[in-house]
């Protein structure tokens, strides 16, 4: 009798847990694939910096995928005369990827970057600069629902920037920027897709 009562009370709980787990799994599967990246930034005339970015997979078709993302790089010092002057950025970009082999993808990127300039501790100016470039990424560890790998990016600013140092010297900011780092990708393709 006690055993029957216990089973009767327990049954709805088990059913509820299964429903919750199923719902959670379904929710998790409906999230788009998400990629986090941390890259070192190299631009001539500027001290090495770092950049953090997050991307969401907006579309996918067989070996092609389209990601949209945002990123930011803290200001790092510009190699100009005088007091400390720094350059950072906040950007939004779109990446188009082609999966060459399962562990290697090549891509193109385009976006707009808000270049942020600081002098000593003060923010000085922001300029919106569009850019285009190329991307590459390779998986180091690859599981069914996540992967970790290396990533790289080379971009070129479409608008040159001249730095007027105390109105006595003009230095043109190098338009090409190279970034290399690591990335972690979570999530998977939608049901029925490769």
């Amino acid at each position: 009798m006690i055993a029957l009562l216990t089973a009767a009370l327990a049954a709805p709980q088990v059913e509820g847990e299964i429903d919750y787990a199923t719902q959670l799994r379904s929710t998790w599967r409906s999230l788009p694939s998400t990629r986090f990246e941390m890259r070192g930034v190299s631009r001539p005339g500027k001290v090495l910096g770092s950049m953090f970015a997050v991307y969401l997979q907006a579309a996918r078709y067989q070996h092609l995928s389209l990601d949209v993302g945002i990123g930011g790089q803290p200001g790092s010092a510009l190699a100009v005369r005088g007091v400390l002057r720094r350059h950072g950025a906040v950007e939004g970009s779109v990446d188009l990827w082609l999966q060459v082999v399962p562990t290697l993808s090549l891509g193109a990127t385009a976006g707009t970057s808000a270049h942020l300039y600081y002098q000593q501790f003060w923010f000085m100016q922001a300029n919106a600069i569009p850019f285009v470039g190329g991307r590459v990424q390779a998986d180091l560890i690859r599981a069914r629902k996540w992967s970790v790998g290396l990533t790289g990016r080379v971009t070129c600013d479409l608008i040159p920037t001249d730095l007027y140092i105390e109105d006595a010297e003009i230095v043109r900011l190098a338009p090409v920027e190279v970034q290399v780092g690591v990335r972690a990708q979570f999530g998977r393709a939608k049901e029925g897709e490769p």
Binding site: V80, R81, G82, V83, R85, H115, Y117, Q119, Q120, W122, M124, Q125, N127, I129, P130, L158, I159, P160, T161, D162, L163, Y164, I165, E166, D167, A168, E169, I170, V171, R172, L173
Partner: protein, 195 residues
């Protein structure tokens, strides 16, 4: 889409400008720790002295980076040529040329040796360069000390390579200007003025 592309192309013709002013942390130059973006409100016994003056660049007489003073001399004791140039405001690069009466032209790059932190001037120098030796830019000159009929010239450029100033002097400044213009693509004889 086409409008966006045209806008980007047009914007690409005009570089974005970022202006950095002189040092903003001026009150820290008095020594000691001071957060002071503001001048001290009350003068303590140790603060009775006036704060040090903020360096201000002297007003240049010409375009920034133009030649202010220049000399191209040979010191017989060392048997070597020495070129010294001072610019009004900061320049990017500078070079000096010498031409003999027979038409031989030498050009030597100048090295930045001193600069006003506040942007008032730059000092460039070449040499001492061995005189009467095989000509090697910045190292030695084929022109011997005491040679007559020499003409001298100096060219300064900005940080992005644009021509700022050209000055000539000596026995035949016009001939030197013509020779320099023939040797440098973006320089014309009319760009060079007597020092």
């Amino acid at each position: 889409m086409r409008a966006i592309a045209i806008t980007v192309l047009l914007a690409g013709c005009q570089p974005a400008q970022v202006h950095f002013p002189p040092d903003l942390w001026v009150w820290d130059t008095g020594g000691g720790w001071d957060t002071g973006l503001e001048p001290p409100d009350t003068a303590s016994p140790t603060d009775t002295a006036e704060p040090p003056p903020v360096p201000t660049p002297p007003a240049p007489t010409g375009p920034l980076g133009s030649v202010d003073t220049a000399r191209y001399v040979c010191t017989p004791a060392n048997d070597a040529w020495l070129v010294e140039v001072t610019t009004a405001g900061w320049a990017g690069t500078a070079s000096a040329s010498v031409r003999t009466s027979t038409g031989d032209l030498e050009t030597h790059p100048l090295v930045l040796i001193d600069s006003d932190p506040s942007g008032g001037w730059d000092r460039y120098q070449a040499g001492p360069m061995a005189a009467g030796a095989t000509a090697e830019p910045g190292v030695s000159s084929a022109v011997a000390c005491g040679t007559d009929g020499l003409s001298f010239g100096v060219v300064t450029r900005g940080r992005v390579g644009q021509l700022v100033d050209c000055r000539v002097w000596g026995a035949d400044p016009t001939g030197l200007a013509d020779a320099m213009a023939a040797a440098v693509s973006d320089l014309t004889a009319a760009d060079c003025t007597p020092l």
